[in-house]
Amino acid sequence: MNWRSLSISSSLLQSIQPTPSVAAQQQSSILGPQHSFAMGIFMNQMNTKQIFPFPDALSEESKDTVKLALDSFGRYFDQVHDAVANDANESFDQKAMETYKQLGGLGLLAPEEYGGFGLLSTQYARLIELFGGHDLSFSITIGAHQSLGYKGLLLYGNEQQKNKYLPMLSSGQKLAAYCLTEPTAGSDANSIRTTAVLDDDGQHYILNGNKIWITNGGLADFMVVFAQVPHSKDHSNEVQNAMTAFIVERDYGGVTSSPPEKKMGLKSSNTTAVYFDNVKVPVQNVLGKVGEGFKVAVNILNNGRFALSALMTGFTRMLLTKSIQHVNQRQQFGHKLIEFQSIQEKIAQIAMSHYAIESVAFLVSNNMDRGVENLQLEAAIGKIYATETAWDCCDECIQLLGGAGYMRENHIERFMRDVRVYRIFEGASDTLRQFIATTGIRNAAKVLSQKHSNSTTVMDDNSSNVTSSDRDELLQQVAEPLRPSAAQLAQQIEDFGSVVEHLLFKHGKHIANQQFLLTRIANASIELYVMAAVLSRATNAINENLPTSDHEQLLATTFVTKSCERVKANLNSIMSPDSLSCFTAFSQIADQVSRNEEALTTRPIGF
């Protein structure tokens, strides 16, 4: 069925060609949000400038630094770090930790003038890629310290705060923690209840509240704590909450933590509740501005998301190696496993997944390094794609290893236990999907309605939403052997844009509640961005004549075909009446089961 016939006449909601002056502005810099590919696809725009050519923001010198660091940290993991023992003992070996600190591993992101190494995002990504293949629990502990914990100082700290805290955090003398989550506030960060009330002397905030599931909660001396500062607006009795970020030192007194949580994985990582009981926090310790807390919280998370994709890159590379080693030698039914088609498919899936995750991780990190503004959608897409795909690859790796995959001695089970939470923390996949879809759609609605009110020309009904020149431009950006794949991608982008347009017309602002639809919009947008990243990377490989360009071309073209299948499936499920009636049914089923508080069926044998 051609669901495009459902879309309303283009005169009402049409893609507007930019006016000449806007076009000129766009040429001058590719860093602005108007060039975001992810935002653009919601508005029938194919913004390729931030993706093609694949960015390479590091200088030779920066790359040399990373190579040296990789050598040293590589040796640390091979010779000193014992992930198995750490998992069994549910803690980190202190001697190994000391060696790690001496290597500089806790100061990777702090600027050099504060005792750190000032690594750029891409340098950090390449370095922690190594960690992802060795120990996903350790990765979180050191990530919580620098990528979350003291990242707040880097993004919002003033000179005094940076000078006071960064040196000891970089050296690892003190550990940092990021304290946002509470028993009643997970994805809904705004609903936190910890309070910070300005004391009568006006010099301190009195902090009260409970945080849960805090990494390094029992070990950190430096915490970034998010709390509500109540204040009443002038001339009113109404109390408003201004969520604010605070730097809290354990030494202030009143800070206690629970014993470490017993977890499915990340066992060596210290995860505790942290209790704040009338803690006196000096007013100088407000991080950012009063009332800016939500923005601070979200931006810290945004800024660190690429790192999770980088960890998943190293993780899936290890899974691929481990899987191949097994299927190359294990024999059954008189043949090596690699000779069987069903095995080949699984290996190919892991290989393509690794390539795609890596492409997205480094596309985002390089864009961050060259100053692209506002990568929130792309970072979220990267996080969802990387963590979910890595989970599937891990599951598949265990399957390939068979019974051996289930045995602790082969280590994959530990990685699986560790990686499960990666889809939950730092932005649960489900919430991030809604965020991606609503942000993209809202932005599209805003831009389109602005231009609609400014426009004096009316485009005719037959104007295609993505112009053929957009499509041609995309095709020109990719290497010649990849053009058929680029054409597939372009088609999906066009279809996506039409569906978004249709939804806007049908639901208007109520689209924000249509989660069945938004999930699928998000799924499609994720696939589109990842495809673009993959094509850009493979284009680079072909243009640079890399020794691996043939294989990369094969990975890219195959990936795009499969990814387009997934996009079509998602878009179809938004448009097809059968699918839509399923959504209604989902709500009914959920409602009935929820009222019954358990399964609402009769057993086959009657009891």
Binding site: D64, L68, S72, Q102, L103, G105, G107, L108, F117, T548
Partner: protein, 254 residues
Amino acid sequence: MALRVLVGCKRVIDYAVKVRVKPDKTGVVTDGVKHSINPFDEIAIEEAVRLKEKKIASEVVAISCGPKQCQETLRTALAMGADRAIHVEIPEPQSNTLEPLGVAKIFSKLAKEEDVNLIIVGKQAIDDDCNQTGQLTAALLDWPQGTFASEITVEGEHMKVIREIDGGLETIKVKMPAVISADLRLNEPRYATLPNIMKAKKKKIDVKTPADLGIDISPRTEILSVEDPPVRQAGSKVEDVSELVGKLKSHGFI
């Protein structure tokens, strides 16, 4: 006497890489393959840096001969604690035919230019396994040599060297200036910490060419072909000694 130490650092294919022979049999595949500092040279650098830390040496200069990427190797040496580095730049494909004699000539020239009294090299490189450079350098300079060193101790103007030999350990005394070649058990090299990697960025790498040093590095040998070792043939079990003898005879071994 404060020693001035020269250390040779060769850039080789990393020990963990699975080496592949090129289809045209002219050599092994190096494109896109991970390279690192020759492990024995790393031990040499470590020993030199330890001498500096004990205040026996006053300066450690690292040298590498080869294409531009050798500067990565020198950065490792600097990050481990060498004070300065000299890159003798020899572009590919010329660098592929560089032989120990050429390197030894370069080291002896630089030793005189830099006024050093101790040269430490790895006992051999893991790519060609020549085990010649240290010995040739000592001969060219007419200096004593302590090769396969597993322990060195400076005693005034002399150095006590414990050497690993087939029969066990041999202890010799050499008068400095001398050349030492490092064996595996001499020490365990440190990792370069990020603080040291950062400090190393400020250290100097001087670039010279063999021509600058007036040295002819043309090879004396020609590589005819590089091939994989033959695939190991399966063995067969024998019932008793007489069958064994019979098989050995029939295969012409006895």
